[in-house]
C-alpha cells in the first residue's frame, strides 16, 4: 500500500480531527455571547431598536460604610410598554409615551381621557393596565410621528425628539431638550439640576443593564439583566452611593439611575458606567 502521510503528518491530522470534533461538540453545549450593537446610518446616527433579549449576570462587592445622596422627580413614574402586535422596534415610541404620561399629570390634555395617577401623600402613576387602550394610542401615534422603521429598524435620536416635539406641539404645548453629558460622560451635576426642575432624562444606550440591588449592610449584590442592543429608557431620579472600607477610604462610587425601562416585566436601576455605552442623555421639559 502506498504511504500517503509520514508519521508526523498522520499525528497532526489526528490531532486536528480531534480538536475540530471537540470544538463542534462544545459549541453545541455553550452559547457564546456576542456583543453586537445595533447599526448606525451613513451619517453616524444610531438606530435604537431594542430586541429585549437579556442575559443574567450577578455582581457583588463588599464595603464597611457608605454615604448616600439621592433625588427623584417623583416616587413613581409611568412604565408603559407596547401592546400592539403589529408594531415592531417600539422602544423609542414607548420611551416617548412615558415622557408624555409623566407630564400628563400637569397637562391633562396630553393623553385625552386619562388620569395618569393619583395620591394625596404621594403621587403614584397607575400601571399600564389602567386605560391600556388610551396609553397604547399614544405609542401608536408616536410610532408614526417618529417615522419608526421607515429608514431602518427603530429610530434615531433625532427622529425620537422630532416625534415627541410634534406630539407635544399638537397639544398646544412646547418642549425643550437639555443635554446632561460633558465630554461624552454622564454629568451628575447637570442631571441633578434637571431632576430638581422636574424634568425626566432620556438615556440613549448601546449595550445596557438593569439591576436589582440587594444590600445586607456589608455586601452589595447586583442582579442584572444585560442587553446588547440599542435602547432608550427614561431616568427619573438618581442615587449616588460612596462605598468605603474600614478606614473610610473610598472603595467605589456608584451612580444608580431610577428608570422606566420600557420593557414589560423588567424593572431595576441603570448603573452608570457599569455595562455598555451611554451615547447621550437629555432632559425633556414640556411647558
Amino acid at each position: 500500500m502506498r504511504k500517503i502521510f509520514n508519521n508526523n503528518q498522520f499525528a497532526i491530522v489526528v490531532s486536528m480531527f480531534a480538536t475540530i470534533l471537540i470544538a463542534i461538540l462544545l459549541s453545541m453545549s455553550f452559547a457564546i455571547p456576542s456583543v453586537v450593537y445595533a447599526s448606525d446610518d451613513s451619517v453616524g446616527e444610531i438606530f435604537y431598536a431594542a430586541t429585549g433579549s437579556a442575559r443574567k449576570e450577578t455582581e457583588t462587592f463588599s464595603y464597611v460604610t457608605k454615604t448616600t445622596e439621592s433625588y427623584s422627580i417623583n416616587i413613581s413614574f409611568p412604565n408603559y410598554y407596547n401592546t400592539n402586535t403589529s408594531l415592531q422596534n417600539t422602544c423609542a415610541n414607548v420611551a416617548g409615551a412615558n415622557i408624555i404620561g409623566y407630564f400628563d399629570r400637569y397637562f391633562e390634555n396630553l393623553i385625552p381621557n386619562v388620569t395618569p395617577g393619583a395620591g394625596k401623600t404621594k403621587y403614584t402613576y397607575y400601571a399600564m393596565t389602567r386605560n391600556m387602550a388610551e396609553k397604547q394610542a399614544v405609542i401608536n401615534d408616536l410610532y408614526v410621528r417618529m417615522q419608526t422603521n421607515v429608514d431602518r429598524d427603530g429610530n434615531t435620536q433625532t427622529q425620537y425628539k422630532n416625534g415627541i416635539t410634534s406630539y407635544v406641539q399638537s397639544k398646544g404645548l412646547a418642549v425643550s431638550y437639555n443635554a446632561v453629558m460633558t465630554n461624552g460622560q454622564f454629568d451628575l451635576n447637570k442631571a441633578k439640576a434637571q431632576f430638581q426642575a422636574g424634568n425626566p432624562i432620556s438615556l440613549y444606550m448601546s449595550g445596557y443593564g438593569f439591576a436589582n440591588i440587594t444590600d445586607n449592610g456589608s455586601l452589595v449584590t447586583l442582579d442584572k439583566n444585560i442587553y446588547d442592543d440599542n435602547h432608550i429608557a427614561i431616568a427619573y431620579g438618581y442615587e449616588k452611593v460612596d462605598y468605603c472600607n474600614s478606614h473610610g477610604g473610598l472603595l467605589r462610587s456608584v451612580i444608580y439611575l431610577k428608570v422606566a425601562t420600557g420593557l414589560q416585566g423588567v424593572s431595576g436601576v441603570y448603573v452608570v458606567n457599569n455595562y455598555g455605552k451611554l451615547n447621550d442623555a437629555e432632559a425633556v421639559c414640556i411647558k
Binding site: 504511504k3 508519521n7 498522520f10 499525528a11 489526528v14 490531532s15 480531527f17 480531534a18 470534533l21 471537540i22 461538540l25 453545541m28 453545549s29 431594542a50 430586541t51 429585549g52 433579549s53 437579556a54 427623584s72 416616587i75 413613581s76 410598554y81 407596547n82 401592546t83 400592539n84 402586535t85 415592531q88 393619583a118 395620591g119 394625596k120 401623600t121 404621594k122 403614584t124 397607575y126 400601571a127 399600564m128 393596565t129 389602567r130 386605560n131 391600556m132 387602550a133 397604547q136 431620579g237 431610577k258 420593557l263 414589560q264 416585566g265 423588567v266 436601576v269
Partner: protein, 227 residues
Amino acid sequence: MDNKELYEILQEYADDVKAEKESAFKKLNEQPKEDVKQSRKRFKPQYAFAIAMCMVVVVLCIALPIALTDKPHGYVEPTYCSSGEIIFGFEGNSLADIEKYHIDAYYPTLVTDKENMAVCSILSDKDTSLHGIQIGYVLEEDEDEMTFIELAIVPKTHILQIYEDYFDLQEKIKWNKYDVKYFRALNQGTLMYDTQIYFTDGKYDYFIDVESDGEIETTDLLNLLYN
C-alpha cells in the same frame, strides 16, 4: 560442436539462470518483511490512543447529558422564549376577549370596572403563536391605597424568560390544593410592596406580580383573585 560441449554450455546457462532466480527470490523474500515493518509503524500506540480519546469524548458528550437528566420517560423539553421573542397584545378589558383562544386554565374571578382591567395575549414575535395570556388589574381603595396585579398564565410547554425567576422563589405556603411559592419585599424606590407568586396546576404555570401600598398576605391576594 559435440554433445559434450553443448552440455557444458547449457549447464553454464542453467547455473546463471539459477543464480539470478535465487537473487530475485532473495529480493522478493525481503520485500514483505519491510512492508510488515512499515505497517507496524503506522499503528503505533500513540495513534491508537488519540483515536480512542476522540471516541471517548464523542461517547461522553452524547451519553452524559442523557444519563444525568432525571426527566421522566416521554418528557418533552419546554420551548424557551427570551424576553425579546415575545410580544404582548392588548385583547380587551374582560376575560370574554380571550375566549377565542380556548384556554382551559384556572381563571381568576376578580372583576373590576373595565378601565381598571386589561387582558393581553402573549405571542411569539416570529409567528404570533400563543405563548400565554396576561390579565391585569388596578385596584384603588383610595388615592393612597393602590394595588396593581398582573397574572400571567403560561402553558407548561413554554418557559418565558421574564418569568423564569419565579420558579426559584423561596417562601412556600399551601393554598387550596396548590403548592404556592412567593416573595414579598418593600421596594425602597416606590415605597410599595412588591410580591411575586407562583403556582402550577400541572398544565399551566401561574405567575402573579403585585405592587401594593399596603402589605398583603399571599393567601389574601390569592383569595382576592379567586374569591
